[in-house]
C-alpha cells in the first residue's frame, strides 16, 4: 500500500513540476487534471489504508470540482493566446534544476513524519508551487499556480486527515474547493472587464 501511495504522490509531484515548466494554454489544463487525478488517487488510497470512509467524499469532490468544473470555468472564459513556457534550452534546464533543488528540500522536510517519502514528495510539490507563484506575475500563470498549490495542500491534508476529526477535515476540504471556484470566477471577471490576462497589458496589475 505504501508503494501505491508513494506512486500517487510521485504523480502529483510530476504534474506540479510540469505545470511550472510547461505553461502553454492547453497543456497546463491537462497537467492540472493529471494533478487532480493524482490527488483523488492518493486520497482514495488513504481512505483504504486508514479506514476513513469520509475520505471518499473528498475523492468525489476532487473529481467533480477539479477535473470537471474548474477546467470548464477556465476554458469558457479564460483564454490566452500566449505561451508562457520556457523556450530556450538554458531556461528550461534552469527550471528543471530549480525544481530538483526544491524537491531535495521537500524530501528533507518530509523526514518529519512517519512516511518520509510520501510526505517528502508532497512537500516538494508544495515548494515547487511556491516558486511557481512567485516566478511569474501574469494573471493567467498565477491563477494556475494558486490552483496547483490548492490541490497540493489538499493532498497534504488527506495525509494528515487521521489526526483531525472527520467533520473538520471535510469542511477544510470544502473551503479549499470553494477557493478554487472563486478564484476561477474572479479571473474570468478580470478577463471580461480588461479583455486580457497578460499583466503587460493591464496597467495596475504590474504592481
Amino acid at each position: 500500500m505504501s508503494t501505491a501511495t508513494e506512486l500517487a504522490a510521485g504523480l502529483l509531484w510530476l504534474a506540479t513540476v510540469a505545470m511550472m515548466i510547461v505553461k502553454a494554454p492547453h497543456s497546463v489544463m491537462t497537467f492540472y487534471r493529471v494533478q487532480a487525478f493524482a490527488d483523488a488517487l492518493l486520497t482514495a488510497l488513504m481512505a483504504v489504508r486508514d479506514h476513513l470512509p469520509m475520505l471518499w467524499v473528498f475523492v468525489g469532490l476532487a473529481v467533480a470540482v477539479r477535473i470537471i468544473i474548474i477546467p470548464e470555468i477556465v476554458s469558457r472564459g479564460l483564454n490566452t493566446p500566449r505561451d508562457y513556457s520556457a523556450k530556450a534550452p538554458l531556461g528550461m534546464g534552469a527550471l528543471v534544476l530549480y525544481a530538483l533543488l526544491l524537491t531535495a528540500g521537500g524530501m528533507l522536510v518530509g523526514r518529519i513524519g512517519p512516511d518520509p517519502i510520501l510526505l517528502g514528495l508532497i512537500f516538494a510539490a508544495m515548494f515547487v508551487t511556491f516558486v511557481h507563484l512567485s516566478a511569474r506575475y501574469e494573471v493567467w500563470s498565477m491563477l494556475w499556480a494558486l490552483l496547483s498549490l490548492d490541490t497540493v495542500v489538499d493532498a497534504g491534508l488527506s495525509v494528515f486527515a487521521q489526526t483531525m476529526p472527520e467533520g473538520t477535515a471535510l469542511v477544510i476540504y470544502a473551503m479549499s474547493l470553494s477557493l478554487a471556484i472563486v478564484l476561477a470566477f474572479v479571473a474570468q471577471r478580470v478577463q471580461h472587464l480588461k479583455k486580457s490576462l497578460d499583466v503587460r497589458e493591464l496597467e495596475e496589475l504590474t504592481g
Binding site: 522536510v109 518529519i112 513524519g113 508544495m126 507563484l133 494573471v139 498565477m142 494558486l146 498549490l149 490548492d150 495542500v153 497534504g156 491534508l157 494528515f160 489526526t163 483531525m164 476529526p165 473538520t168 469542511v171 477544510i172 473551503m175 470553494s178 477557493l179 472563486v182 478564484l183 474572479v186 479571473a187 471577471r189 478580470v190 472587464l193 480588461k194 493591464l202 495596475e204 496589475l205 504592481g207
Partner: protein
Amino acid sequence: MMSPLWIIPSSMGLFALATWTFPPRAFSWIRRLGILALLIALAGQVANLWQGTDPLASWYFVTVAVFSIFALWYSGPYIDREAEQHHWSPSRVKLYYVLLFVFLGSLIALALWTNLLWLWIAMEIATLSSVVLAAVPDTSAAVEAAWKYVMVTETGAMFALFGTVLALSAVRSPLFAWHQAPLHVILSTQRQHWALVGAYMALVGYGAKAGLAPFHTWLPDAHSEAPAPISALLSGLKLAGALVIVYRLFRILSLALPAVYLQDALILLGLFSLVIAAGFLAFQRDLKRLWAYSSIEHIGIISLGVGFGGIALIGAALHIWTHAASKTLLFHNAGTVRLLYHSSDVRQGASSILYRTPWTGALLALGSAAIVGLPPFAPFWSEWLVLAGGFHQPADRVFALIAAALVIIIFVAIARRVPDWLFAPGRMGVGPKRGTIKEPMALVLPSAVLACIVVVGGLALPILAHPLWSQLVGELGTVHL
C-alpha cells in the same frame, strides 16, 4: 457543542438565507432583525447568560458585534444611494446583503472559536465572502482589487493551514482540541525546528491575511475599492482577527518552543509595517487609500503589542477595539464623501469638505485626530500601552524607540495630508467657489453615533466593561508568549 459559539455565527447564516429567499423590499427588515440579534447576543453577554471561551474571545466578540451593528445600519442608506448612482441591479444588491451576513457570521466565528482549524475555516469564509463583496461594484478597479486580494491572501491561506498543521503536529498538540492547550497534554519538544518552520509559515500566511508588511500588497486596493461598510469591516475587524489567530497559535507553541523566536518575528513584521505605512501615507490622494495605509500601521502596532507581551499585549487587545472604532468611523465617512462628491480623491473634487458638507467634514476631522493617536482619544491610550510595554522590556527598548519614532512620522504624514480634503486651496479667508452639498441625515447619523463612541471609548470603555476588562487584564497581563 450547541452553544453560542455556534448559534450566533449560524444566526447570521440564517439571515443570509432569508435575504436570498425574500424580495428586495424585505431587506431593510432583515437588516433590522440582524441588528436586533446582535444586540440580544451582546445583552446576553453583559447579563452573564453566556461568555466566550476566554476573556480575549469575549473582548473581541464585543468589538465584532458592536461594529457589525454599525455595518448593518450604515449599509442601508449607503447601498441605496450607491445602487441608485451606479445603477446596481436588484440581484447585485441582494448578493451584497447575502454576502454581508455571511461575512459578519464568519467574523463572529473568528471571535468566538478557539480551535485553530476551525479558526482557519472562519478566516477562509471571511476572505472568500469579502473577495466577492470587494468585486460587487463590478468596475474594472474593483475586480482588479478583488483579484489581488484573492491571490495574495489565498496563497497566505495555504501557508497558514499547512504551517498550523505542521507546527501543531510537530509538538504533538491535538488538532481537534477545542480549547487552546488542554492541561493534561504535555507538548513534545523533540521536533522544535519543524514546529518553528510551521510557526513561521503560519505567521506568513496569517500575516498576509492581516495585511502585515511585506504581505500587504492587496490591502490598499481592496480597502479602497470595496463598498465603504466592507472596507470598515475588513480594516477594523478582519485584519485584527488574523493576528488573534496568530496569538492563539503562538501561545500553544510557546509551551514547546523558545518564545523569543516567535516574539521577534512579530516585532520585525510590526516594525516593517510601520515603515511601509510611514513611507506611503504622505503621498496618498485618495481618502480611502489613506485609511488603508493607516490600517497597515495599526495592524503593525497590534503585532508589536503581541510581540512585546505583558502590558503591551493588553494594549494590543485594547487597540483592536480603539482602531476598529476609529477606522469604522473613517471608512464610513470616506464612503459618504465618495457618494456626495462622486470621488474620494482630492484631485477629483473631494476637497473643501468642511465647508461644503460640515457634518461630514467635522467627522473626518474628529476621526483623523483620533486615528493619529492624539490624547484623549481612544487610540492614544492603547498605543501608549503598547509602547510602554516595549520600553518595559530591556531587550525590546530599541524596537519600542524605533516604533515610537515611526508613529510620530506617521502622525506628521496624516496631519499634513488630511487638510487637503478638509479645506480648499487658496488664500485664507476666501471661501471655496463651489456651494454646499446637502448631507442626508441617514448617512451622517451612524457616523455621528460612532464619533461619540470614539470620543468616550478610550477612557470610558474599561470602566463600562469593567468585569470583562479586568478578566482580560488578568489573563493577558502576565503573558509573554
